[in-house]
Symmetry: C2
Subunit: 138 residues, 2 copies
């Protein structure tokens, strides 16, 4: 799916991926999860990026409590500050994130979230710090 490859000199070249999102199966998630970056894109990078726009997700959890073998960073953004609010459960404690906000979910932490508020153009991304190993099973 990548439009350019490493050059013959070995110097890495810019790579573009546009067939997005791709949908993959993540343990604990009710539906297939949209990904903007997976291990088989851009030559293989040390992160994966899941998630997307959440204005249609208010009150609808996307996953049951689950864990990953790698750390995850939630990134909550909205056009206006305070435009998005999510409630994250992590190891039994609840954290309210008001956009813009980031949160570290350490490897092995039982976690999930539900969107409480999301103006149009609000996003919650999960950046998985895979270090190069895919955590997806799809």
């Amino acid at each position: 799916m990548t439009t350019e490859a490493t050059s013959q000199t070995g110097r890495q070249r810019p790579l573009v991926e546009q067939n997005l999102p791709v949908f993959q199966t993540i343990p604990g998630h009710y539906d297939q999860t949209p990904f903007f970056l997976t291990q088989d894109m851009l030559g293989g990078q040390p992160i994966e990026i899941a998630g997307g726009e959440i204005s249609d997700k208010v009150g609808k959890p996307v996953a049951a409590p689950h864990t990953h073998e790698v750390p995850e960073i939630y990134v909550l953004m909205s056009p206006e500050a305070g435009g998005a609010v999510i409630e994250v459960m992590a190891d039994g404690e609840t954290h309210e994130l008001v956009s813009p906000a980031v949160m570290l979910i350490p490897a092995g932490t039982v976690h999930c979230f539900v969107t409480k508020k999301a103006e149009p153009g609000s996003y919650c991304l999960g950046v998985l710090l895979t270090g190069g190993t895919s955590v997806t099973a799809g």
Copy 2:
């Protein structure tokens, strides 16, 4: 700025950062750059995340051509597919990215971009793969 610390047992705990974005100086950028994640947040992670909403950036480059010592991944998103278009210059070649899209800017690549189209709620993020070393100078 972090609301929780590593527990006394050494097991990493969830961490939240909400005083965002922070603005830092990046070589080549015309203004201070908004960051959602820097090395001094969330206990120090191997990535930094810059950028933001771009619907007011059409036709306005945010930086002159510049390089980083680490790879960068552009993440272009919009509520509707095709809602955002950026033109990326990388090592003298031009790449048109149509949302959703990701692009790898290898370390040392001379690069910059200009927004050509961006519906409200469009974002361009630059995820810097620092591996733990800050690339900011602010």
